[in-house]
């Protein structure tokens, strides 16, 4: 890898995006499909879980918080192995025939992202709860309604939490390469394609794909932030 290759990569990346190469579009599409689906499922689990942990007072609450935070450090390759053993033919759910499918990749990324969503939203909701707790108590709001109200009021902060989860999902390679198998036209995503080009020694092309991945992440983040700004304008207008 030399300086020449480095600049070559930027040209290649621009060419790739401008040419809208069909194979590349397929890979980008699958990356987004897998990671966004995993993000939505993780959010459905993680937001309520995080909110509950942030609001309710119960013994061992501190331990739960530590556990949730620690699970954010789950190495993707370990999650990949766990999901592999779950869906392998010799594993408990082998009969589902999900190994080496996009669904297995979604499951793996969901396992990775849920702790991030839960742990970060727990912190957001706990902070918010300091302001709200008294009011909720005086109006004797039931806990379910309190969770809903706080998730809604914290929605702009939680959007950033979701983006953190998305970042983890779209960027990881360790889990999806094990459970997806990097199968051409079926389970190949951006990160596994980058790993493959690296193992072919085509470092400039690999880096070009990396640049494209960054551009996708930028676009998603920009779109969400744009949405957020519009929503806020309406909310406070």
């Amino acid at each position: 890898m030399h300086v020449h290759d480095f600049f070559q990569a930027f040209r290649l990346a621009a060419d790739l995006v401008l040419a809208a190469d069909a194979d590349l579009m397929e890979i980008i599409g699958l990356s987004l499909r897998v990671s966004l689906t995993a993000l939505v499922i993780s959010s459905l689990i993680g937001f309520p879980l995080g909110a509950a942990a942030g609001i309710w007072r119960f013994p061992g609450r501190g331990l739960i918080a530590i556990l949730m935070n620690a699970l954010m450090s789950l190495p993707p390759v370990v999650v990949g192995l766990l999901v592999y053993f779950t869906f392998s033919r010799v594993g408990p759910f082998g009969w589902l025939e999900l190994l080496y499918t996009p669904t297995a990749m979604i499951v793996a990324q969901t396992v990775l992202v849920t702790p991030i969503i839960a742990a970060l939203s727990r912190q957001v909701i706990e902070d918010l709860n300091r302001e709200y707790a008294e009011q909720f108590r005086s109006f004797s709001v039931p806990p379910g309604a309190a969770i809903q109200a706080m998730l809604w009021d914290a929605r702009y902060s939680l959007l950033t939490v979701a983006l953190a989860g998305f970042g983890r999902a779209i960027a990881e390679v360790g889990a999806v390469i094990i459970v997806g198998g990097n199968i051409n036209h079926y389970t190949r995503v951006m990160t596994t394609a980058i790993a493959l080009e690296t193992s072919k020694g085509d470092l400039a092309f690999a880096l070009a794909l990396g640049i494209v991945l960054l551009v996708i992440a930028l676009s998603v983040n920009a779109a969400v932030m744009g949405l957020r700004a519009t929503a806020m304008r309406y909310a406070y207008a």
Partner: protein, 277 residues
Amino acid sequence: MRMISVLASLAMLWLAQGMQNANADDNFIVLQSTTSTKNSGLYEHILPNFTEQTGIEVRVVAVGTGQALQNARNGDGDVLLVHSKTDEEAFVAEGYGVKRLDVMYNDFVLIGPEGDPAKVAGQTSPAEALGRIAKAGVPFASRGDNSGTHKKELLLWHSAGVDPKEHSGQWYREMGSGMGPTINAAVEMGAYTLTDRGTWISFKNKGRHRIVLEGDTGLFNQYAVIRISPEKHPHVRTKLAQTFIDWLVGPDGQAAIGAYRMDGKQLFFPNASDARS
């Protein structure tokens, strides 16, 4: 809140559709494969022919031979294509595979940095060459991942009478990676390494490395195909797998393998018929 639930249901729909596709379209096999055949572009050259003729899609999972064997033992595939004869025979003997069939061969080559600091070029046998590398203490990048190439390399060290593990972390560098990343590292470290010729010819990041030893009979590299036994794993797609194997070792598959060229050079030499005659 409403927007979130709309998004959620959309995602579920998408996911459900993906699952449906996976189940409805059952005309495929999973091929557990060594990496060299994939990284060299061979599959992209031959598989479209097969799929066009039979309608069977071949999903290639390319991992090191060690991992491919293990995945196949777990029943996570229908066909195995690797290059480590002793392991393949054990795999069949243990009842995991039906039969081992030769498919094609190429050879291993020893590559090294410009200037050949261990003065390997001109040696006639791999044992002498490795002996010189060990004596000079010039870095050697080993796959270190139980792959077919790694096992071959360990055999060659054995024949050289050197136990490289004693020098692990010094001049002997166990990369624990695939062939490509190992060559990438060898190029950066100025190290020697053993690679199959197919991967080397198609490799893009050769730097100033070149072949320093080739052509010895000890460097022969045979690839074989094995159908995974339905007796151990009743779910395997026996019929589709057999169709694929018949094609691969038959005239069409063999011709497709022989026709594959990279930079005008042939990477794999079909030899299924030799074994059967």
